[in-house]
């Protein structure tokens, strides 16, 4: 039982760590590149405008897709590793 508990705790910790990492990227592309850091990226041209604009209207959305799929894949790995899947 003690083993079960510590195994479960490790699984949950790994999950929270994964979420944390994903959300850092999530915030970086949207709140960072697309909004707050846009003036810093103004020097990088993308088709008639700058990289910040591209992140606001395209890049962040594409990153969000990559993040959700990565999370689903990673969690399936963790489910298996810790034997806590269905």
């Amino acid at each position: 039982m003690a083993d079960d508990t510590s195994n479960a705790a490790a699984y949950w910790k790994a999950n929270v760590r994964t979420i944390f990492g994903c959300l850092i990227i999530w915030a970086f592309v949207s709140y960072g590149c697309a909004i707050l850091f846009r003036p810093l990226l103004a020097g990088i041209p993308v088709g008639g405008t700058d990289l910040g604009f591209w992140f606001a209207q395209q890049g962040s959305i594409l990153t969000f897709i990559a993040l959700t799929f990565f999370y689903a894949w990673k969690m399936n790995q963790l489910d298996k590793k810790y034997g806590l899947g269905e």
Partner: protein
């Protein structure tokens, strides 16, 4: 063939398709009729979720707001997609494991409190009714145009059809009907965009065309657009915004709202496995993104086409915009689409300087006032409602009549599917969570159904009445709904999973804090219960606290919700062991039963 007839044919054919699929699916398997998504592949479920999710706000209204606001309105794009990341990681898999069917049910059980459950019902109803107001606004625009009636008549017709559609009920639960709706919606959105991108840039993929060169002038499209709009005193399309705080909070409000809206969360309750809840969120986002990466192209290109319709000489200019600006079209030569939209009252022309031409410019820009005076302009003469842009887009670009019919069908599908879904969420919250569980547990099944129908009718009447004088364009009204849901429901759902310490008192105080502060802020600027004229301060940026718009306040409401729940929980007794075990169990997929069945 007359455009009117073509529109009716397309809308009629799409309805026949949905009903046909409904009948086919009903005959196929009555057993799992009510289990939306049960035994369905995550890709199919993702597509159905996308149809559920993309409403009149996404389809009809959003590109129009992008066209009008440019970069500043990117908030809608990021907010309504970024919320799925939160949903996929912070809520969906755990709520699936928990295995109940409604959001108030989770809150009631997790916080072992009927009070918490009741407050969740109230939050759900307020957010959903606000959402439906936005849908009625959008549906009203669609119906008024394609039935060629006034906007008011359009809204009432939309209300009647939404009511019938929602009462037929069962159709909503069928995943394949929603898949069909998604297909109609995405084709209707993409085809005109491809035509227009081809025409303006030679690149058939709108998301790339937007960043390519404008063929007629040889200038990059977005550069071209900036030049055209600034020549008329408007803000540059790609201009950065001054108030970054508001932009961040607006985006965050939409994101937490996405993760807190009950009709979307519900879809993840019923997938076969916990792992599927994660994959489904990813696929839903893919299908949503197909529209969302196209929308900014639709917005920018529609804006350019609109301006060059009024000022034809601007299209090939690269330098002398001044001369082009002084040669707008004559009102009597206006294109057919302006004439037809004038019937709806959503485009208005007033010849302020009596020269018989249409001057469209930013007349509130003080720096531009001298230029305008020199040109003999006496005010903007053409007002175009943002919500018509997507629907008018094919007409503006002179696309064939069948494309216009297609977009009418898509707009109607978007508004109806989401409105019906929300009405079902409202009616089940009232009849099941409120009446059956709390007020009158001995109510018969028949009485419960009656209560559901009555509450549906009441919600539509209320939303339609408020939709006649809406608190904003469709997408802005819907954004308010997201703020309310994000401030009230999202924080307690998340804390209910990620913290074992948050107790019943914390959840109750948290939800009330988030809900009431957000509503108070919204009603201050938009009128008590959205009744026009009852607002205490004018809804302009000067009056907003720190420049934070009513649509952005939900993020602050959510933060206060988190804080209040945390403080109150830590000051009172920890939740009982059974509840802590429950929280422990939702964290692991192992032992998840089959998807729950809705009992009615």
């Amino acid at each position: 063939m007359d455009q009117f007839v073509i529109n009716i044919l397309f809308v009629g054919a799409s309805f026949a398709l949905y009903i046909g699929i409904a009948i086919w699916a009903r005959a196929g398997s009555t057993k799992d009729f009510y289990v939306a998504g049960g035994g369905v592949h995550p890709i199919t479920n993702g597509m159905a979720t996308a149809a559920d999710w993309m409403s009149a706000a996404s389809f009809i209204s959003m590109a129009g707001l992008l066209a009008a606001g440019g970069y500043a309105n990117s908030t809608y794009l990021m907010g309504w997609t970024g919320g799925y990341v939160l949903l996929a990681m912070l809520l969906a898999p755990y709520l699936r494991k928990f295995g109940k069917f409604t959001v108030p049910a989770f809150i009631g059980d997790r916080f072992y409190s009927n009070t918490a459950r009741l407050i969740a019902v109230v939050c759900l109803i307020i957010a959903s009714v606000t959402y439906v107001i936005g849908q009625m606004t959008g549906a009203g625009v669609a119906f008024s145009r394609f039935l060629e009636v006034s906007n008011t008549a359009g809204i009432w017709i939309a209300a009647l059809i939404v009511f019938l559609y929602a009462v037929f009920g069962g159709m909503k639960g069928i995943t394949y009907t929603q898949v069909a709706q998604y297909v109609v919606l995405i084709i209707a959105y993409t085809i005109p965009a491809v035509f227009i991108a081809m025409h303006l840039t030679g690149n058939p993929i709108p998301m790339f065309g937007m960043f390519s060169t404008h063929t007629e002038s040889g200038v990059p499209l977005l550069d071209k657009l900036d030049q055209v709009v600034t020549a008329l005193g408007f803000n540059a399309y790609t201009a950065d915004v001054d108030n970054k705080l508001n932009m961040v909070l607006f985006t965050l409000s939409l994101m937490v709202g996405t993760a807190g809206l009950p009709h979307v969360i519900i879809r993840f309750f019923t997938v076969p496995k916990v792992a599927d809840a994660r994959w489904s969120a990813g696929w839903a986002l893919v299908f949503i993104a197909l529209l969302y990466v196209t929308a900014p192209a639709v917005g920018s290109m529609a804006r350019l086409n609109l301006m060059t319709t009024v000022y034809p000489d601007m299209a090939e200019q690269t330098e002398n915009y001044d001369a082009a600006a002084q040669n707008p079209i004559r009102y009597e030569d206006r294109p057919e689409w302006i004439r037809s939209w004038e019937h709806t009252g959503l485009i208005n022309f007033e010849d302020k300087n009596g020269d018989g031409r249409i001057q469209m410019y930013q007349d509130t820009n003080e720096d531009f006032a001298d230029t305008a005076a020199e040109r003999g302009w006496e005010g903007n003469e053409l007002s175009v409602n943002n919500d018509i842009l997507v629907l008018a887009n094919p007409e503006i670009a002179n696309l064939p009549p069948w494309v216009i019919g297609l977009i009418a069908a898509g707009g109607v599908a978007a508004a109806l599917s989401t409105a019906a879904g929300l009405l079902l969420a409202i009616s089940s919250a009232i009849s099941h969570d409120l009446i059956k569980t709390t007020i009158n547990p001995s109510i018969t099944e028949k009485g419960e159904m009656l209560a559901a129908r009555i509450s549906m009718g009441g919600a539509i009447l209320l939303a339609t009445y408020l939709g006649l004088n809406p608190p904003g364009f469709a997408a802005q009204t819907v954004a308010l709904a997201f703020g309310i849901a994000g401030a009230s429901l999202f924080p307690v759902l998340m804390m209910g999973i990620f913290s074992k310490r948050i107790n019943n008192h914390g959840a109750v105080v948290g939800m009330l804090t988030g809900l009431l502060t957000t509503l108070l802020y919204i009603f201050t600027y938009l009128g008590w219960f959205f009744i026009p004229g009852t607002n205490m301060l004018p809804n302009t940026p000067d009056n907003w606290m720190l420049g934070i718009s009513p649509q952005s306040f939900g993020a602050l409401g959510a933060i206060m919700n988190f804080a209040a729940a945390f403080i109150v929980s830590n000051a009172t007794a920890a939740p009982p062991q059974a509840i802590q075990d429950l929280v422990e169990s939702v964290r692991y997929p192992k032992g998840a039963g089959s998807a729950p069945h809705l009992s009615h």
